[in-house]
Amino acid sequence: MTKNALATGLIWLSAILVSGVFVWLLSDILIHGLPRLSWMFFAEAPKNAGRSGGIGPIIVSTVLILLVAMVTAAPIGLATAVLLSEFARYDSVFGRLVRRSLDVLAGVPSIVFGLFGNAFFCIYLGLGFSILSGGLTLACMVLPILIRTAEEGLQATPNDYRLAAAALGMSRSAALVHLLLPSAAPALVAGLMLGIGRAIAETAALIFTSGYVDRMPDSLFDSGRALSVHIYDLSMNVAGGDASAYSSALVLILLLLIINSIAMGLAKHWMHRSVVTV
């Protein structure tokens, strides 16, 4: 057999193997998770340590944690991106310092975020195991993603707008608010969706910051259990919890699919628009 034919065979085989395993995984979760899925599942609270009942309070906790994370990270991230893109010269020392530290932040493993969140938010700031601690820890995690996508979105807006606005005597802030940010909006939202997708998949950082409690939280200072933590608890600590875990995993994957589709749709819309205006 020639080398070319061998290579072709091996590569097709690899592709079939890889897709096979992944289809196996996804269909497994679909098949085992679908039976339990119902409106009741989304509304009810977990019963019997989660073996039966639903994931109502879990969903609420998850949404609250995400909300805290995004509400904290989005403004700071946008402000940093605007600074890096519009106000700092590309080779300035400050700009390089900020970029370098964000690159490092992006590489920190999630368990280390868990350690940090526990030491800083829970203990040092006294927030304890709470949705607030979990959300703030996640905010630190998704900040690099938000900043990178926002900066890319701003850089992609035509420079002509900046020049024309300046020639008309408009201030930088006016050009930003009226021209650049609206123009970059699809990219900004796509970045937000990416951040949400990353945050919702996070487990290790939440176990030591937002805790395990599966009751409906009364406030942001209450401990709350995120969906990913629920799956972990059901599969590792609760005998017979597999059925619920499958359904929860299915819900998580569906949520991620929706979020990613929105992000991809927006990214395509953004690319299309920037091509048309040229």
Binding site: I11, S14, A79, L105, L115, N118, C140
Partner: protein, 284 residues
């Protein structure tokens, strides 16, 4: 630069936010060191390797079983994921018809987004019993390696795909015009040209494997022992932290923070090298 007063105020506000963003990483390092200090103060770093075992309650801090577990699982996963990932990238770029290539790429992108806890869960309920039938127990180093492979494969595949996409079409046309076969073209022109990008992707994947917690926690067995065979139950450094943080106090807790510091530095070195490599690519 001629900035109006409103602009100057805005710039000051933005600079403050950027400073905040940049400070987070310093804060993390600060708190890691602060929490590790109680143990670092009176335990020499060498003891983390030379102590007889891991029994923090008794003042014994041997981390080697965990370090070995992390090392072996990462190496094993890289060994499997690198060829499969590169093959996936080659498949979607050079071998598959356009529609299939698009579907395949979208499948890989979907899998890159699946949470580690879902991989771990599936590994626990499906893979572990299968491997258990081969050689009990099911939860072992091998299961950990297999699940890690699944997790880092999309990283390798997507970065290799991007690196191959950056190979100038002119190179490929020139090679084809010389009558090279498809594999000859790939091995002779495309892969060498994309080499630094692919290596960067492998480093990123290695960083991800080392830092992975949930999946290996769920499937590798969590016994603190030096692995002597693929079927031994092991506990990685990350799993160690996750399991013991819940009840660790005092020096024990500080020791866990030390392992956290070690993890962070290793991953950072890898990610930094990956970045240097990918920047070299841009200069080529």
């Amino acid at each position: 630069m001629s900035l109006s007063r409103a602009d100057k105020q805005l710039a000051a506000l933005l600079r403050g936010c950027a400073l905040l963003s940049a400070a987070i990483v310093l804060l993390i390092l600060l708190f890691l060191v602060k929490e590790s200090w109680p143990v670092l103060r009176h335990v020499a770093l060498t003891r983390f390797v030379t102590d007889t075992s891991w029994h923090p309650v008794d003042g014994l801090y041997k981390l080697t079983p965990m370090l070995s577990a992390t090392l072996y699982s990462t190496l094993g996963a890289l060994l499997l994921a690198t060829p499969l990932g590169i093959a996936s990238a080659l498949f979607s770029r050079y071998y598959a018809p356009p529609f299939l290539a698009g579907c395949y790429r979208r499948l890989i992108e979907l899998l890159a987004g699946i949470p580690s806890v879902v991989y771990g869960f599936w590994g626990l309920t499906t893979l572990a019993p299968l491997i258990g039938r081969l050689h009990p127990p099911g939860v072992s180093l091998l299961t950990g390696i297999l699940v890690l492979t699944l997790m880092i494969l999309p990283t390798v595949a997507l970065t290799a795909d991007a690196a191959l996409a950056a190979v100038p079409v002119a190179y490929l046309r020139g090679a084809a015009a010389l009558g090279l076969s498809r594999w000859g073209l790939i091995s002779g022109v495309a892969l060498p040209a994309a080499r630094s990008g692919i290596t960067a992707g492998i480093m990123l994947a290695a960083g991800r494997a080392i830092g992975e917690t949930m999946a290996v926690l769920m499937v590798a067995g969590n016994v603190v022992q030096q692995p002597h065979s693929l079927f031994d139950s092991v506990r990685t450094l990350t799993a160690n932290i996750a399991l013991e943080m819940a009840y660790a106090t005092g020096d024990h807790r500080a020791a866990l923070f030390v392992s956290g510091l070690a993890l962070m530095s290793t991953v950072l070195v890898l990610v930094g090298t990956a970045e240097v490599l990918s920047r070299e690519r841009h200069h080529d």
